[in-house]
Subunit: 316 residues, 2 copies
């Protein structure tokens, strides 16, 4: 009985990320493999982040999870995929001080409790699932003493939520779509760290904090099935933009960076509109913000410091 | 002096038209040659139409025009192109009763007065210029006894406003983009007349009657120059849709007709959004109307009678 009393816990904090070259569309729904590369900037964890505590104890009789204080089911395929993949990489853990010793094979039988909090609106267009799955996978990897590096972990987080793979790194991050059928080469790499362009400030305008009417998963599936523009975007437009964006980031070229970010964000919304039924992730306020920024930039001749629009909270 | 007292007048009425496969983008700005074919339905002249009176008199000392009671300049290239093309086709006119005789060569010296009224908002997304130029060209052709048929006149009206060429016919009308560099084969043909599908009712929801912030001319030019989706739409998507739409109209297949109309309208708005700076011709009310119609159709399984959305008045 004494053996059942211990609890081992790990807490991690992971920021959300905002894509500047967008991910929209999967080529494999189960493995979550995208139709194009994407690039994002990871936000400062002090502002928008997920905090997740994972705990293991022989006294737990099932895996359970609480999101923002409310218990949610872990039975979905995405959670199960992440748990299975991390468990497969679990290693021996020994904490002599607390008298805990978990052998590699014990992880198969031990159950987990997970408590996760977002300090920003959930499912409202701010990539809450990205921060959430990245944090879950990272915390579990620490708990289970998995030896994988962050890129390897990103390929696991990806199976929870595609864009989660990009939240395993700070700074600017590229999600390489990969080619392998098993998804093993579809993972995130850091382009530059957060110090590279530390004068860059991101302003998030909350135009609505209501939950999106169309989830990203459903929306992407509908777009892949019905939009006649999506494949052209993925194959012809994005590859060139990825190269240009990498160059702009490397050179801290704000003009190119702003122009590419705005164009790609607008094109993502255009593909949403070209979907049947059409998806509207912007509202009148979003439109007015974009118009103001465009007019300001136009009157000054070049994109003004900070004056570009990468994303929006979704409206309902 | 007595010779200078007569005035010859012709009044014509032309309805506006709403495209179900959209025209967006010119390959030649001066001749107004489009990047793709388009198909429209001409509205009942009892509802939305332009009424234009054209008059000629030896007492007029210059060409003048009044739009909705206010004098406007005729110096623009579009008016000048239409006037020049129609004058070149003017024939002898004789009205024995009134003692009027105008020789073919007299038209070069005679001046015109034009008065045009729209019974609906001007420049608000309801193709006021389409009805206007179609009516102007038609009335002038009658005044000047030009022998051209409506398709030939449509190629002249096109040089005033692209979509005007489609208002020369009732029913369903196709604007064939043509191939010739001089634009001579870019004209409208009637697919079926207004009796073919007379149970079809078009509801126009006025979500805003303010003038568009971006004119069609400016918007199209920006789209052609900056949208990376426009050429793909024009070359790959529209040609197939034109065939499908012609088939749907021929068979009065409401399901296909509604689906194609909605998809093409949404794709036109998607290209606008993919333009730099982005163009927003829909507002929150437009989005809500589309969502309502989509949900209704979805709950019933097929497009319901009249339940499709072809167009909107633009918001500002």
């Amino acid at each position: 009985m004494a053996e059942k009393t211990w609890v081992r816990m790990v807490t991690a904090q992971t920021p959300t990320n905002i894509a500047v070259i967008k991910y929209w569309g999967k080529r494999d729904e189960t493995l979550i493999l995208p139709v194009n590369d994407s690039i994002s900037v990871t936000l400062d964890p002090a502002h928008l982040c997920t905090t997740t505590t994972v705990a293991v104890s022989p006294s737990f009789d099932q895996d359970r999870m609480w999101l923002n204080g409310k218990e949610i089911s872990l039975s979905g395929g995405r959670y199960q995929n992440c748990l299975r993949e991390i468990r497969a990489r679990a290693c021996e853990v020994e904490d002599k001080e607390k008298g805990i010793k978990i052998a590699k094979k014990d992880w198969e039988k031990l159950h987990l409790h997970v408590a996760s909090y977002n300090n920003f609106p959930t499912a409202a267009g701010l990539a809450s699932s990205a921060a959430g799955f990245a944090c879950l996978v990272f915390a579990l990897a620490k708990l289970m003493n998995a030896k994988e590096d962050n890129s390897e972990l990103s390929a696991i987080a990806r199976q929870g939520s595609g864009s989660a793979c990009r939240s395993l790194f700070g700074g600017f991050v590229k999600w390489i779509m990969g080619k392998a059928e098993d998804g093993s080469d579809s993972l995130a790499v850091q382009l530059v760290d957060e110090k590279h362009w530390d004068e860059l400030v991101i302003i998030i305008a909350v135009v609505s904090s209501r939950q999106k009417e169309t989830s990203s998963t459903t929306g992407m599936r509908d777009s892949v099935e019905t939009s006649l523009l999506l494949q052209h975007r993925a194959k012809e437009v994005v590859p060139k933009r990825i190269k240009q964006m990498e160059e702009a980031i490397k050179n801290r070229d704000f003009g190119s960076f702003a122009q590419l970010s705005c164009a790609d964000s607008n094109q993502f919304h255009a593909v949403c509109l070209d979907t049947c039924p059409p998806i509207f992730y912007m509202n009148g306020t979003s439109h007015r913000i974009i118009s103001c920024v465009e007019k300001w930039n136009c009157s000054e001749g070049t994109p003004q410091p900070l004056s570009f629009v990468v994303d929006f909270l979704c409206e309902k």
